[in-house]
């Protein structure tokens, strides 16, 4: 051992960034840079958690589920504390570790297999084609967030799942998912107030007797009956799907339209070569990663890359920051549909918990982008995009554009 080895094991330095404060939620990039540049792992005293925004560190932690557990939840709150369950019950898939996780994951993966995705594709394609046709005929400025992203997500997600929830209740649920991943703030309180009535509908709609036959939710219950999932897990999975996928889906769709509108050279490349379509979506998931931060629990005192970490403390993996890490990406803030992004970004997380719904997300993105490429000549910005002010999620509230038909 080198004489000064002891000295090189330092505690992560404290930095005074609040990733849930209004200034961060309005413009996260400066805060991400500080988290990423200060040290491999930093400490956020306000919340008593560690943070990292470096690609290499994030990747390593995702893989190491024995030292970095998901059992305390993927948000800021420690989900081992029952008082944190009032608004969002623990996820039976995201908030457990292998080996319990492995079995549930395999069951869900089967329900989202290429065969299942293919069975939905026709409906998704037709929906996107009709929507784009209607918007082109109407002409003028449209707000792509409610009129495309939310319209698609809030129609197709409950339909695919087989849930009957009044449309008016859906938007608050997506935002609730984001707020539940962050701290108690006045904004979180206001959202919880707003969704009070919706939660009742949402819990009831996911009950076995209320889901429509032949849908994804119905199949989840069939798997529960077959013993793939423990009794009670099915309803939890259905709620996770609706809530988490809604928020991430409309975030991704909005960002896709935004980047193609702001980068006409990239749009032209996709139009000229639909082979770039998948990569155009993947690059948006990198650049505008829907989930800002994904937490793990440091299981016990450990040394990690020369830093001393205390056990029983959570660590925030700022995947949106890692996806713009300049030590990993060339020109990280640019949208480039030719970038080698597939398999390199961490927008869907990583390791055992890598997003199980990622093929559904791609399906929706691909259906829309195919419809746009076939029908639209140009997507023109028509005003400033406005961010949605929610915890832990990068998402737009408003995106004025014009769709100019071919």
């Amino acid at each position: 051992m080198l004489p000064n080895a002891e000295l090189s094991i330092a505690a992560p330095p404290a930095i005074h960034i609040d990733p849930y404060a209004d200034d961060f939620l309005a413009d996260p990039d400066p805060g991400r840079c500080i988290i990423r540049d200060s040290a491999p792992i930093t400490y956020l005293p306000k919340y008593g958690v560690y943070a990292t925004g470096r690609m290499t560190v994030v990747r390593e932690i995702f893989k190491d589920y024995e030292r970095f557990s998901s059992s305390a939840g993927i948000g800021l709150a420690d989900r081992r504390d029952p008082s944190s369950h009032a608004h969002r019950r623990p996820s039976p898939i995201n908030e457990v570790d292998p080996p319990v996780h492995t079995k549930i994951r395999a069951g869900v993966q089967k329900l989202l297999s290429p065969m299942m995705i293919r069975s939905w594709r026709g409906r998704y394609d037709a929906f996107a084609e009709k929507l784009v046709d209607q918007l082109i005929i109407r002409g003028g400025v449209i707000d792509a967030v409610p009129e495309i992203a939310e319209e698609m997500t809030y129609t197709l997600m409950p339909e695919t799942l087989g849930l009957d929830i009044p449309r008016a209740f859906l938007p608050g649920l997506g935002e609730m998912n984001s707020f539940s991943l962050g701290p108690a703030t006045p904004r979180q309180q206001a959202n919880y107030e707003q969704v009070k009535d919706a939660i009742k509908f949402y819990n009831e709609a996911a009950e076995r007797e209320n889901v429509r036959p032949g849908t994804l939710a119905d199949k989840i219950y069939q798997e529960e009956d077959a013993g793939t999932f423990e009794p009670g897990v099915g309803a939890g999975l259905i709620r996770v799907f609706l809530r988490a996928s809604s928020e991430n889906q409309y975030s991704m769709i909005s960002a896709l339209i935004r980047r193609l509108a702001e980068n006409p050279d990239q749009w032209d490349k996709v139009k000229a070569d639909p082979g770039k379509l998948k990569n155009a979506i993947e690059e948006v998931i990198r650049l505008d990663t829907p989930l800002e931060v994904d937490f793990r629990l440091v299981v016990s005192d450990t040394e990690f890359n020369g830093q001393a970490l205390q056990g029983n403390r959570k660590i925030g993996l700022f995947i949106a920051a890692a996806n713009r890490d300049p030590h990993y990406w060339d020109k990280p803030n640019e949208y480039d549909v030719d970038r080698e992004v597939l398999g390199n970004h961490v927008g869907f997380g990583g390791g055992a918990h890598v997003c199980v719904g990622q093929m559904m997300a791609r399906l929706q993105g691909e259906s829309l982008l195919k419809a746009l490429v076939a029908r639209v000549d140009r997507i023109e910005p028509a005003g400033r995009p406005e961010r949605r002010v929610v915890s832990a999620t990068n998402s737009l509230k408003s995106l004025p554009v014009r769709l100019i038909g071919r």
Binding site: T102, A106, Q109, K110, S113, P114, M115, I117, R118, K278, E282, L342, G343, N344, H345, F348, G350, V354, C355, V356, Q358, M359, R362
Partner: protein
């Protein structure tokens, strides 16, 4: 550099030189083999890089882990005994001359 031959559905053969350490999904998509999609980028989450491996080579490739075995049950074209997800086949000199057949469809 070791060589792999991809045979697409319909019989189109493409030999590809693959660097040691690279997986066949990366190598195949980079070479423009149309029968491989590899949507999830090698995370064992999409089952769209399914291949049938030359049986002579199977003993030279590390056996699939549990996640891969699970995913092989969900491929768009039914798996056979020599099925693998090629994102999990890492190139090495021992695999020089490998032939893989692509299924009729991946999605």
């Amino acid at each position: 550099m070791p060589n792999v031959t991809f045979i697409e559905w319909g019989g189109n053969e493409t030999p590809v030189d693959v660097e040691n350490g690279k997986n066949l999904m990366q190598a195949g998509t980079a070479a423009g083999i149309s029968g491989i999609i590899g949507d999830c980028g090698g995370n064992l989450s999409c089952a769209t890089c399914h291949v049938f491996v030359d049986p002579d080579y199977i003993p030279r490739i590390p056996a699939p882990n549990d996640y891969e075995k699970d995913m092989l049950e969900f491929t768009a074209t039914a798996a056979e005994d020599n099925s693998r997800l090629c994102c999990q086949i890492v190139m090495s000199d021992a695999l020089d001359g490998l032939i893989v057949w692509l299924p009729q469809t991946q999605e």
